[in-house]
């Protein structure tokens, strides 16, 4: 069965005063049905823009400048707006990072849920209300009847995020894009949400693109991981492959810099320098200025090394695969 989502060389550019900035640079990945792909990367690496590009929600001055987004076999790039509307929410849904900001503060929860159903004409008023309430129940919200009539500000952050997830799941979409939905939440609440999301995906076979900067979260949740750096995917593969045998020096540095149990008070290996801002990404390998292994060759476009199916490393000098 073909993956539900196939992204090929997706490129998104922002037209700014300082010239065009490529926020997403020739990004390619697949998400299979029922699969959870973790898209990780540090701040500004282009994760969110990637997510928006998939939904056609990049606002001017940004635009998708190239590549293809094959959703269920159909290329979404350049789709007219009405077509987009039919897809959004119904077949592809999205959950945003900040639960405090994603719900309209002046509309009640039920309004915001029911309209999502009505927009696609799948349910009339009463029916839509019932379905919405059930959806709330499914994401683990106690007393959903009551919560339906609440305004967002009357709910805690965790509850709001679950409402957003419930809205995303209303239509049993084929793909959910979750943009750091738990970053703003506490550990125990994050645990609850991960639990719900995981269960729902498993049950309904929804594919999930989980965007985060927290390697640890995707470690527990995802099937596969894609690592972004400065707008490009530098490495992707199965969770264990990427985390245990990182092929890219960036991934390796990143993993090394996270404190691990049992090595208390030891100096952490650190990646020198800082993440380049978009305009200042070096040519060739974007990581070369911070990479210990970099040499003249890195000034050229790095090749994609694919040691195994579904596993890719974009590097001139990939880390030799040496199991630890």
């Amino acid at each position: 069965m073909a993956p539900i989502l196939q992204v090929r060389d997706l490129t998104t550019v922002f037209q700014t005063d300082a010239g065009p900035l490529t926020a997403v640079d020739r990004v390619s990945f697949d998400v299979g049905r029922g699969e959870i792909l973790g898209l990780v990367g540090e701040s500004g690496s282009g994760k969110t823009v990637t997510g928006f590009s998939l939904l056609g929600l990049v606002d001017p001055p940004g635009r998708v400048a190239g590549g293809r987004v094959l959703f269920d076999g159909r290329d979404l790039v350049g789709l007219p707006e009405p077509e987009w509307r039919r897809l959004r929410g119904r077949r592809i849904a999205m959950v945003f990072q900040d639960p405090m900001m994603t719900l309209n503060p002046v509309l009640r929860i039920d309004t915001q849920m029911v309209e999502a159903l009505k927009a696609h004409g799948v349910a009339d008023g009463r029916d839509a209300w019932g379905r919405s309430r059930d959806a709330l129940g499914r994401v683990g919200i106690a007393a959903p009847e009551e919560r339906m009539r609440a305004y967002p500000h009357q709910l805690s952050g965790g509850m709001r995020q679950r409402v957003a997830i419930a809205i995303a799941l209303l239509h049993d979409p084929d793909l959910v894009i979750a943009d750091e939905p738990t970053t703003a939440l506490d550990v125990t609440i994050q645990g609850q949400i991960l639990y719900e999301v995981q269960g729902l995906c498993r049950r309904s076979g929804t594919a999930l693109l989980w965007i985060t900067h927290d390697l640890a979260v995707v470690a527990g949740l995802a099937d596969r991981i894609a690592v972004m750096y400065a707008g490009r995917i530098v490495e992707q593969g199965g969770v264990d492959d990427v985390l245990d045998r990182p092929g890219h020096h960036y991934t390796r540095g990143l993993l090394a810099s996270v404190p691990r149990p049992g090595r208390r008070w030891a100096r952490l290996p650190q990646i020198p320098g800082r993440i380049p801002s978009l305009g200042t990404v070096p040519s060739g390998c974007g990581f070369r200025t911070r990479c210990g292994r970099a040499d003249a060759a890195c000034e050229a476009e790095p090749p994609v090394v694919a040691p195994a199916p579904g596993r890719e490393v974009r590097c001139h000098h990939p880390v030799p695969d040496e199991p630890r």
Binding site: M159, V187, T188, Y195, L215, L243, P259, R260, P269
Partner: protein, 333 residues
């Protein structure tokens, strides 16, 4: 608490309440039978612990549990509603000497708002030492350069404004600003939470280096248990304004006692833990405006008994240096 030298900082029975009083009109209406009561947030509720010289104490807990408030109380920005916060035996809010007043410094979470956006970073670092006469105005420039150098920022940049620096650099500047007044105790309130993963390591390393160089003592506030585990000698766990457990780091992570601590440790995502089946702690974090009775954790605790619902469990030593506030410990096993 283990014996040893007198603590550098000591909190005894510290409470902090934020009260929004009932105003005149509400009081008038109360006479007519209405029931307006002042809104009281028990941000910190009877907290006691000490920090010895040279020690790194980690303070963990979920959002709103009062970690920052404890930090601010120790820094003397807030004064406790009850109890006392002592630094070198004196009240932190009323330092006896300038030196003592400057002994405790604080690094904040948000590197964007913790620097005055309109002050050049060199001035920000140099202001306090000059104002307090630690260095002369003439020598200030060289002094600032030296401190910046130590914190890993090129002194050439001292004429720049904060917005021209990255988050990591700003945090270094904040650290330099604190170190410029030669403190011996640093409170790091989520000092690395807002930074990128790759930068976090740089700052953590800097903290560790500086501790060695200046013989500093830290209170390290964080919700990232991994980081706390890495850097702390001892950990204090708070829940809704109260300390629920404290122990040295190894003990706490290996044999957590309090159900909350255990739940917390269970939930912490770790790179090593793959393909997990998540098992959530039930319930929401209650509001500090209206905390549960008895043990604050009882509504979410799988082991809660009737006693937990009514009686506040005291913080008792269950093993040397390991304190926990749970009724289960008192119950015969």
């Amino acid at each position: 608490m283990t014996d040893g030298p007198a603590p550098l900082v000591e909190l005894t029975g510290v409470s902090k309440r934020f009260v929004r009083p009932v105003d005149l009109s509400a009081r008038v209406l109360n006479l007519a039978g209405a029931r307006y009561r002042p809104e009281i947030v028990h941000a910190v509720d009877g907290v006691s612990f000490g920090i010895r010289r040279g020690e790194v104490v980690g303070l963990v807990g979920e959002s709103g549990c009062g970690k920052s408030t404890v930090g601010r109380l120790i820094a003397g920005i807030l004064t406790p509603s009850e109890g006392s916060v002592r630094y070198k035996g004196g009240d932190v809010a009323r330092p006896r000497t300038v030196r003592e007043g400057l002994g405790v410094q604080m690094i904040f979470q948000d590197p964007f708002s913790s620097l005055n956006p309109r002050k050049r970073v060199g001035d920000a670092i140099g202001e306090a030492p000059v104002a307090h006469g630690l260095v002369s105005r003439a020598a200030a420039d060289a002094y600032v350069a030296e401190v910046m150098e130590r914190c890993g920022i090129d002194p050439v940049l001292r004429r720049r404004l904060p917005h021209q620096f990255s988050g990591g650099q700003r945090q270094r500047i904040c650290i330099a600003r604190a170190l410029a007044v030669k403190p011996d105790f640093l409170i790091c309130d989520e000092a690395i939470s807002a930074l990128d993963v790759s930068i976090q390591a740089q700052i953590l390393n800097l903290f560790m280096d500086l501790k060695e160089q200046f013989d500093l003592t830290y209170l390290f506030i964080s919700h990232d248990l991994g980081v706390v585990e890495h850097i702390s000698d001892r950990v204090v766990v708070m829940y809704l304004g109260r300390v629920v457990e404290t122990a040295d780091t190894d003990t706490l992570f290996r044999t957590p006692n309090h159900p909350y601590t255990r739940a917390l440790l269970d939930e912490v995502p770790r790179i090593e833990r793959r393909a997990r089946a998540f098992e959530p702690v039930k319930g929401e974090i209650p509001s500090p405006l209206d905390p549960p009775t008895g043990c604050h954790f009882h509504p979410r605790c799988p082991h809660a008994t009737d006693r937990c619902r009514v009686e506040r469990p005291p913080l008792v030593e269950i093993a040397p240096g390991h304190l926990s506030a749970c009724h289960l410990n008192a119950a015969p096993a």
